[in-house]
Symmetry: D3
Subunit: 273 residues, 6 copies
């Protein structure tokens, strides 16, 4: 007898990209929110645990995605390619894939999606800029462009059909910052989880773009346009200050990885020569 599951807010939550870096982090944590957690990835997800459903599927497969959405109450869309790659691969996974998610969401009357967007949607702002979510996008590669696409697409589904989405432009969600840039973009797992909680449970979110970042000194992103989510970061990269002592090694004037927010990403991928 599982009386406890009755008390969970949702019956079924879908997490795409569950085999990815953040997917693995979230897999356990989100069990508190739903009786059933449906996990999806193109990669192997291991055996289903208690309260889990495993669906291995390619997001670019429209019929598979439609089936995947059956009986789902809310979606955490973390699937697709999560780094710079060649355009066709990104188009397949992130453009066709995200379209398939929204068409399935629409057909199955799912009310809300949390979409894992990325800071690389605005990576061509300067590191001396302080930006908010209403400023024009400045993607720093094919990956960032695909995230801009997802933000446009989800905006349309909200304006046209009232399907709510929170787009989270995730900074650097890792256990520990490993570069100076990550001291600015660090997003702790606990803060990520809290922002997801706010995004999933706020009564109304409309279409919201929120930057996913901890309370780091020098952060570039102003979350005022997402104030209604009620997210308050608890962590800060100051916990790691000792890893990056004060240094006079100023970067070169023309080092674009420090001029622009996107950092090293600007030099990756097939577009760079």
């Amino acid at each position: 007898m599982t009386t406890t599951s009755i008390e969970k807010p949702f019956n079924r939550i879908l997490l795409t990209g569950a085999a990815g870096g953040l997917g693995k982090v979230l897999r356990e944590r989100i069990k508190a929110w739903a009786n059933i957690v449906r996990l999806s990835d193109i990669a192997d997800l291991g055996a289903a645990g208690v309260g889990e459903e495993i669906v291995q599927c390619d997001l670019a497969d429209k019929a598979a995605v439609l089936a995947l959405m059956e009986g789902v109450d809310v979606v955490l869309h973390f699937g697709g390619i999560s780094t710079e790659a060649n355009f066709e691969a990104i188009m397949h996974a992130n453009i066709q894939g995200t379209y398939n998610i929204y068409e399935a969401v629409h057909k199955h009357h799912v009310k809300r999606v949390i979409f894992a967007s990325s800071n690389h949607a605005v990576g061509y702002y300067r590191t001396t800029d302080y930006i908010d979510a209403d400023m024009p996008t400045r993607p720093d590669g094919m990956y960032g462009i695909s995230k801009c696409f997802g933000e446009s697409l989800s905006r349309y589904y909200y304006d046209r059909f009232g399907i709510e989405t929170v787009c989270i432009r995730i900074g650097s969600s890792f256990p520990v910052p490993t570069t100076r840039r990550m001291m600015v973009t660090y997003f702790s797992y606990d803060d990520l989880f809290e922002l997801l909680r706010c995004s999933v449970f706020a009564p109304r979110v409309g279409h919201t773009i929120s930057f996913g970042v901890s309370d780091n000194p020098g952060k570039w992103w102003d979350n005022k346009k997402a104030a209604h989510l009620g997210f308050q970061a608890k962590d800060s990269s100051t916990a790691f200050t000792h890893l990056f002592p004060d240094s006079s090694a100023y970067p070169e004037k023309d080092d674009i990885t420090t001029i622009y927010q996107g950092g090293g990403f600007l030099l990756t991928g097939p577009q760079y020569k």
Copy 2:
């Protein structure tokens, strides 16, 4: 011998609406600010305590209000109707009444008024908006419209005669939030009292509109236009989070009480059918 009263900042402070919900809360607290607290209401105020003067009066009675202002140093104008009502009643109490207050203030050379405005002056902004005090008003009923009137009127008395006013757009000032909306709009009594203190004692306030709200997560109002008051909320609705557990019960798409900030107020009053 009353040497202590000599040390109080003001000789006489006037509190209108002293029999109302917030009036009762303030009656004791503001004694620290003035040798004499003059209390006024259309309703019975009981017996005058030490350092109190009781004046029962209808704010729409011009002569009575003129007399009420005699010898007053500063005014806390909390009088009038504080909820949605039919227009004529509101015009009588809040429009004619507030005009009478300002004419009396002008004639008696009072230098400053703290005016209890309301969040319902902007209740038709969306719950996903984040607004500041320079944005156009969006009243959500006759009550809210009368508060817009008070803000316009007091602006005029400042521009024309230099009479200073702080308009406080009060959120929900109650002991405990009783709805999800109040988790956003909660304004603790201590925070209300502190904002009043800042408003009364700041050396210069000009004409300032400040949102009266505690430091609640997800709050809709940016107080940067009132930064010079120096108000810093100490309380937060997070103290009551346990009363409103995470829930998947999303409101209906067309439920205007969750689409707009004004909440249930939008459905009250004679205007609604």
Copy 3:
């Protein structure tokens, strides 16, 4: 046989304040728009012409206004007091009166109102300011405050009931500018009529605030928030430049009638001593 009247866009248009300065100007011109022009004023309107209905009434008389609205398709609300006056008179005619208009409009399902607001709703901006309709109001007297009230009220009726209003902040609509200030605020009758035409016939206006001013050099008002009306002024005060030759007679530093846009209005009315 009156086949021509069949081709007029509306069956019945209501013009309040028809005996006033602008009312008289409009009385003939608007006949092109409706089979029947209902004219209302507290003052005598003379005999009804062809296609006219005359209703003498006090706008503060709720029942009379309700009757006045019977069978009306669209309202040009020019009634009430159109200059600075004592507050009670203004409250009676402009606050109670305008409320009565909107309640009648609501009860009779009229879809659109054109409201004669005034530049005196923003008369306390400086003559070196350039403002648009989203900036906070700065009324310069009781008259201006009553116009702010009308703008708030009509906004509410739009947000709550979908009743559309165009508020026209009329500058100086006279045959000829008679002061230097009027060289800036001049609004020719032809331009007034054209702005009314745009306001009445644009398919959608929502709630719009438009400045009523001709294409005068040095004008203070940016109409971009009313761009969708499609109004383009044809006239300009340059036609009267010869009346105000270049002069070195700079006003005194502390002459508020030239510091603020409201001009001489700032020194009128019972508030001034």
Copy 4:
């Protein structure tokens, strides 16, 4: 001997989508700009005229597009699907296709592209809004989303490689407005050609988004962010005012085709039911 061709500014200009509605209009006109006009479409283009090269090709064919770009100095990218359609078709032609164009442009060191974007990139703004090119996109369908993609992509190629693009959000470029909406969005062929000329020949354009619209009364779009192009519309829909006489037939309150700028487009395509 053809000395005149020597005087043309460019050697070779590429026009994609040359068989489309606007492609046909431009085919003759742009001959003045280049010795050779290379015309491309997936549809038949007829025989090559003097100074023309014809290349029938599918923009989704990467190799074909790479070959198409050989020897090109400047590109007018009007190709792809120009109306609402199912997503896969749009992804093929407009997303893969535009990517192919930019990769070819990059590989062949072409310096500038004029990209035919669309007002449907912002079709979910209201008809009472007045917007500029820095405001967030609000696409009104799959077609509009593909145009947002093209704008993001071209921005990246500018930020990363310095390839300049002018994105023209074309309104309604037809000989005559056939709906009331087109009175607002009308873009005459002459104005289109002039905006193209400005875009092609301005010494520096960086990455610019310009609204393609004539000088129509009531237009929704502020081109100040593209002021440096020097475009000044010569035509106006006022030439067609007689086709749309003043009418009192206000649209229904919930008619989204008049609430939003996108108009009838909002109800087309496979997404609508």
Copy 5:
């Protein structure tokens, strides 16, 4: 008998820099404004004509400037160095010199100054930017910095003493544009004279910064912050379009004289190597 001079608006106007390029242009034209035109320069000014007073003086000579201001009603301050030069020369003529002017103006109770500032106060904005007078200055050399100084200084004299100034950021005021950049910055002599007239005779100007530019296509400067001056350019560089035919000769990506508004100025002066 000179009855005509009695009708001139001012008794005495002072023009500094009267031997300079624009000084010579203005010398005759401004005679219509004053009975006496006092002309000053460090260079020779020739013989005084009818209604002229000639004062040769170094603006850096405080006592001389104080004497120069005796009996003056209004000042057109065109003196100092008007091109890039070494800092000490500029400090002498433009910084010390302009300070001397304002101290003399203050001591002699002159009410208004028209200050010839320069577009080089903002020369480091991009040629794809569209700026207004409230945006931060971006000087492009020592000359531009000295103009920023003059704007700061005159602002102070207004805020502190009420002395009014119009700062005109002059574009390129020459008979004919001789470079492509001048097609954007062209400021005809007639338009210069008209802007001066507006600046001198507007009843109130406070402290105003106005861009001095004709109505050229593609101009970079939005004069809305100076709208109250009532200046409307009559001329345009389109009169010279034939001098600069359409050309495909795009500038190099790193050619800063086309990236930034300051143009060739960026490469002049002792600071450049």
Copy 6:
């Protein structure tokens, strides 16, 4: 053997104005940042301590300043006159002096300067204003004007040569606030030192203007334009609240020292009578 000095981030740091109030405070503290601290002032600096170099020099002496910069890695420019004074003295020390610093910085290829600007660059904003670093300057005297000059000059050296500067508009950096105004402008020595640390060690600062102020209630300055520095004030004037008890002694309406942010400074200096 001094192995510890090898670990210091810089080899040599230059502090100008080292004998001034803040210079003395910083002299010891900044030793942690560099093997050698070069101290400069026009006044006597006492004997050089360990790791110190003493250079007495007049900043207006170009050759001396050029020599002073030899071998310097980073500059803290606190030299010059730090209060209102007559213009010629300020021009000598602050205008010529700061120019000399930047020319020397340029010639010696120093990469970064921290420039002690002042809140008096914006002292003519109102005490009810809340401003950020992009708003136009409003200097309140000759001293403030010289700081505006330094900000313009350093902006130029960044735009033209890539030399980075952080301009710190210092509030009131003293041990204890001694006036009510200083409760708003207080900048503790620890917070000053921390802001300097952020300014010196942030990898990229471009040209940044930051307000130097502790986390005081009611502060007038929004540091969002300097967010990338990562500065977070630790102190607040609330520690001194007991020194300024609540008081009803409102300042006079026309007391400009409380109307404007500059305070008593507005009444000092030779300009005031």
